[in-house]
């Protein structure tokens, strides 16, 4: 299995390398580190842009050299330059060509944003400034849970069991206070929210129960709820430590097996203090079925 790593030709984005090393070490996959540069254009034998093109290729090679220096030596990795009309399109092409099971990319921006909307494989996103020791592994997988995504939790559990990590179900209660002018008081919604939290906690317990009966069970199981007035606060409300990875499901229920990130999921990804992996529904269902089947 392969992780395809998008590495910007400008050589920034160390976080991506740290994250891909951590993931590869945990899963035993190899890496394909890829710098995407513009495809030749316009389609004509006249190459008035030869010098510029050469410079861009040179920059990409330099960036890959730097990536080679920074990645721990014991992780098998290939390095390549790919020509494409856009970075997201290029990464998807490489992912398809190498049958990648995860695409690793940098913090939310135009490239990551577009990948999340078009990638048929899970996308791992390094938070801004992400660093980890060279021998870091994934020790805990947190599945973002809103009450109805059992497949995602089971899929996350299967991966957690495989890499020897524990599983945590994380739900996030974001309570935006009603404005003063609404006249119902600043705490009017609190009762509603409390109800929601109770429901989610019981749903999480029953899902954990399902996970407990899988053929392969993660090291440990727990469920938490984070509270806050914003997604950022709610995410900060639960404790995180090194080796944590947050798994978020896509919100698409349609037949198209692509990541389509709902507004909630994209907010979670944006504010996640730990690396997030966005899993398309189709992939989650597949992984969950595999996990449930007796080996």
């Amino acid at each position: 299995m392969t992780l395809v790593v998008g590495f910007a030709p400008d050589g920034r984005g160390r976080g991506v390398l740290h994250l891909s090393a951590m993931l590869a070490r945990s899963t035993g996959d190899d890496l394909v580190v890829c710098a995407v540069i513009p495809a030749p254009w316009p389609p004509s034998p006249a190459r008035v842009d030869a010098e510029w093109r050469a410079e861009v290729e040179h920059l990409a090679n330099d960036a890959l050299d730097r990536a080679r220096e920074r990645l721990p030596e014991d992780i098998p990795a290939r390095y390549l330059i790919h020509h494409a009309r856009s970075t997201p399109a290029g990464l998807l092409e490489v992912a398809e060509e190498h049958e990648a099971n995860v695409l690793v990319t940098g913090p939310m921006g135009s490239t990551t944003g577009r990948l999340l909307h078009t990638s048929p494989v899970p996308v791992a996103i390094s938070p801004r400034g992400f660093r980890c020791p060279p021998d870091a592994r994934v020790t805990r997988v947190t599945a973002a849970y809103a009450g109805a995504d059992d497949d995602l939790v089971v899929a996350a559990a299967a991966v957690a069991a495989r890499v020897g990590a524990s599983l945590r179900i994380g739900s996030f209660a974001v309570r935006a206070r009603p404005p003063y002018t609404s006249g119902v008081g600043r705490t009017a919604d609190d009762a509603m929210l409390a109800d929601w939290v109770r429901e989610i906690e019981s749903a999480a317990r029953s899902t954990l129960d399902t996970v407990g009966h899988l053929p392969d069970v993660p090291r440990a199981l727990e469920a938490v709820v984070g509270h806050g007035e914003s997604w950022e606060e709610a995410l900060e409300d639960v404790e995180w430590h090194d080796g944590d990875v947050l798994v978020v499901g896509s919100s698409s229920a349609g037949p198209v097996a692509r990541v389509f990130l709902g507004s909630r999921a994209s907010k979670i990804v944006r504010h996640s203090p730990v690396p997030a992996v966005v899993v398309p529904r189709g992939v989650a269902v597949e992984l969950a079925e595999e996990a449930a089947a007796p080996a």
């Binding site: 910007a8 316009p42 034998p45 030869a50 010098e51 009309r85």
Partner: protein
Amino acid sequence: MASLGEQFLRRKPVGVMAEETGADTEGGELKRTITLFQLSLFGIGATIGTGIFIVLTEAVPIAGPAVVFSFVFAGAVAGLTAICYAELASAVPVSGSSYSYAYATMGEGIAMIVAACLLLEYGVSAAAVAVGWSQYLNELLDNLFGFTIPESISNAPEADGVINLPAIVLIVLCATLLMRGASESAKVNAVMVLIKIGVLVLFIAVGLTGWSSDNLSDFTPFGVNGITSAAGIIFFSYIGLDAVSTAGEEVHNPRRNLPLAIITALVVVTSIYLLVALVAVAAQPLADFEGQEAGLSAILESVTGSSWPASVLAAGAVISIFSVTLVVIYGQTRILFAMARDGMIPPFFHRLNPRTLTPVPATIVVAILISLLAGLLPINFLAEMTSIGTLVAFLIVSIGVMVLRRTAPDLPRGFRVPLYPIVPLASIAGCIWIIQDLRAVTIYVFFGWSAVALVWYFFYGRHHSLLGRSSS
């Protein structure tokens, strides 16, 4: 310290170029993957279009119906120059623009002059094309919504306006896309070519219904002089043919296929142009051409009395000219990049945005300059400046081919001009003939511009040249 003469003539070693462009000179050759058919299509696609949408309005009043001969003449010269350029390009085993080829074969000073010509061939032509675009846009808006952008903000001062705002908007739009790293896929490019050919065929078919032999009764009202004068502006519509010339390394049997592809492309393009021109001059009296905006659309409208064929043509022009503008501005910024890398212009021009990898500062400067040209100058002047720039660049190339045969007879050439020395001599004569018939103002401005380039070279280029600094 090298003397001025030595500086002017110092050539960039091919090895250095190969290193810079990453070309593999050890293996010797690129894969020869392009067939004659493909190369001819490339040539047709690169050449056809834009110019023909604009030039008739300017050329017919100069030549009358005999403008068809101007097309043949301009096409023949374009073909000869393209064949000469092919020999020069084949002598340098790496790819680049004619600036790069000139630098490797004829020396730094000549390369600077060629670069000055390329600024006209790209920068000024982008302005000309943008002005043409604004005319077709106005035509389209008028037909579809009965609304036109006021004269004062859609025309240059000389054409009774203040500034051509739509043209500026187009340039800013293209530059913005380019800075973000946008490009066109091969598929979109092919569609653009088909749109251009499609609307020209539409023009021929519909315009034919308005054929009136009366309009052709006085076929050559301005004699031979009119024909060659008009050829100067018309040459504009053959720019792009030289794209074929640089494919010597990649085409099977270049000796046979390169000239054949150039001739095939030329025959196809010229035939379409001739039909368009003939239909146009037969459709309306000579006097109607002068000052006609969005010429082809206007003719269709008066021929059919209905607006839809004109609207289709205008829409096709608006879409395809947009794509051409994008390509031309792209080319300009990349040529400046190469020059800046050589130290001929300030390093500012080869600064890349680390995220998009595009030369953002250069693109901004280019967009501002082209916007000023497009906003303030009339289209006939811009078209003529483009023509003269391209013609002089090819004139230098043709002379260069002959000089190099004498001074560097052993230079390995992948392609040699057939019928030497007739072809380069004819090419030189053709270029000079067309140039001397251009309007005096065009020629003076061109000399002025060349002088600026030489002064720039004298005070900046020769001191900052990377080649000079590395050898001393």
